[in-house]
């Protein structure tokens, strides 16, 4: 078989490359690390001039780091749960978008567009204030703590974005695959689950991971609605240390660094997957 033909033939099999997401973060790891380091150092210098009785910013960070990192773990937990919920709901919504039943597809389209084009913070507020703090089902009271509500708040935009990812990936599979499945008597549902979605996983992975990196970074929004995640704790630590201005940059720099160290590898990996699926 000639190369030309194999190239041509493989192009059909190649995963469709979804347009690079506009949110992807591309900061050099070095420059960012230097930035954080500078912030901490600059503050340390300020501390050096302010007298020896107080803890240095570095000592403050060290002292509070168990608490701050626990807060960060909470951010990660919220992001993972929001992603899980959003992915399950998004898969359903994405399949509904692809439905041949027009009204269903239209309603799903409206839902998708609504949640994709609403600011995340506004959605978060809506969920926080519209969902009660507890629900009673058959006399069983199920409390709904703020962080659960926040997770749902983040899951909504995730759902809409994942739905778009699913729709785009399935649409990108050549229609000849549908025809082949049709001629073999597969039903539409079988075709979707046995033939389309398995082929889509590869091409859905990079944009899906992009959505995740976004969610992870957005979880700090939960601080605005009072969830004790890392940013809330950072503010509290700052207050507990007397609100010294020179601590501001190091403490928030530490939060920046944590998020950067978490999200950057994800973005790096996403970029690598995108490259691999493009070339092969």
């Amino acid at each position: 078989m000639s190369n030309a033909e194999s190239g041509h033939r493989l192009a059909v099999l190649l995963p469709y490359r979804l347009a690079p997401t506009r949110f992807s973060v591309r900061i050099g790891p070095l420059s960012a690390a230097i930035l954080c380091f500078c912030a901490i150092m600059a503050a340390s210098t300020a501390w050096a001039q302010s007298g020896p009785t107080m803890l240095s910013p570095l000592q403050v960070i060290l002292k509070w780091s168990p608490l701050l990192l626990r807060g960060f773990a909470f951010n990660i937990l919220i992001s993972l749960l929001a992603m899980l919920l959003g992915t399950i709901a998004g898969l359903g919504l994405g399949l509904a978008l692809l439905s041949e039943f027009r009204p269903l597809a239209a309603v799903s389209w409206l839902i998708t567009q609504f949640f994709r084009n609403a600011p995340w913070l506004v959605l978060l507020f809506f969920v926080m204030f519209l969902v009660p703090f507890q629900i009673i089902i058959f006399k069983t009271t199920i409390p709904l703590p703020d962080w659960i509500k926040a997770t749902v708040g983040f899951a909504l935009p995730v759902m809409a974005n994942v739905a778009e990812v699913v729709r785009g990936a399935v649409r990108s599979i050549p229609s000849t695959q549908w025809e082949a499945a049709e001629s073999l008597s597969f039903t539409r549902r079988q075709t979707m689950w046995l033939i389309m979605l398995p082929q889509c996983i590869k091409r859905m992975l990079p944009p899906w991971m992009n959505v995740y990196a976004l969610v992870a970074m957005s979880t700090v929004l939960a601080s605005i609605v009072g969830v004790s995640e890392m940013l809330t704790l950072t503010a509290q630590v700052h207050a507990a240390e007397g609100g010294r201005p020179e601590l501001f940059a190091p403490l928030y720099g530490f939060a920046l660094l944590c998020f950067f160290l978490y999200c950057y590898p994800i973005n790096l990996w996403t970029a690598r997957l995108e490259r691999r699926f493009r070339v092969r």
């Binding site: 078989m1 695959q177 025809e179 049709e182 073999l184 079988q190």
Partner: protein, 250 residues
């Protein structure tokens, strides 16, 4: 669906089939019939509606008017059980259209297991036998991307055969292949024909059509211009359009 079809009647019967895409009429009244075990070839210039016709036969595309009956089942019936129809009619495409995420063996096994709900072990044995029949023993675990065009096309043939169809449709199945792999696919189809499978082929391989077909139809601009046994059509075509086409391709 009541069918009073008996094997001595035509297995495929097309009567005045018309098909339009918007204002463009691609099939302008096609009538022909195929008997069980017959091999017919449809030849003609590109854009003459050959592929459209073959896709209408297994209801991949609806026709505008006319009638197509497969074993007495009316394809245009709005209550048609398309899935039941397609179990009788296998189809092989120009671009093979194998499922790229499944191995050759899985490609062949999928439909019988999921559509016909047949026993996996029995299906696997049959799939292996079919792959051996199309001379692909040893390639069971290869993915389509690892196979040549000719090999992929033979997997596609085995995949269709696994459904045990009564009729096989071949839509320009060698058109996308390298010249050196065309032959292996044609050999496979010839063996099928010799086994008594009813085959309808749209093809540009004139020598093959001449060799294997019981009846050849020449179509141009949506109509059957001329038809007959291959030796007659290829050597003593009556219509001027047929003569011109044959002189260009032979």
């Amino acid at each position: 669906m009541a069918t009073s079809w008996t094997p001595d009647q035509p297995i495929v019967e097309c009567v005045d089939v018309r098909k339009s895409f918007g204002a463009l009429e691609v099939l302008k009244g096609i009538s022909f019939s195929v008997r069980k075990g017959e091999v017919i070839c449809i030849i003609g210039p590109s854009g003459s509606g050959k592929s459209t016709l073959i896709r209408c036969i297994n209801a991949l595309q609806p026709i505008t008017s006319g009638s197509i009956q497969i074993e007495g089942i009316e394809v245009t019936d709005p209550r048609l059980d398309k899935l039941a129809l397609r179990r009788k009619v296998g189809m092989v495409f120009q671009q093979y259209n194998l499922f790229p995420h499944k191995t050759a063996l899985q490609n062949v096994m999928m439909a019988p297991i999921h559509v016909l709900r047949q026993d996996r072990a029995e299906v696997e044995a049959r799939a292996r036998a079919l792959l051996a029949k199309v001379r692909l023993a040893g390639k069971e675990d290869s993915y389509p991307g690892e196979l040549s065009g000719g090999q992929q096309q033979r997997v596609a043939i085995a995949r269709s055969l696994a459904m045990r169809p009564d009729i096989m449709l071949f839509d320009e199945v060698t058109a996308a292949l390298d010249p050196e792999t065309v032959k292996e696919v044609l050999v496979t189809i010839r063996e099928l024909a010799e086994d008594g499978m009813t085959c309808i082929l749209v093809t540009h391989e004139m020598n093959f059509a001449r060799d294997v077909a019981d009846h050849v139809y020449f179509t141009d601009r949506g109509v059957i211009v001329e038809h007959g046994p291959p030796e007659t059509l290829f050597t003593a075509a009556k219509d001027e359009r047929t003569q011109r086409f044959l002189s260009q391709v032979l």
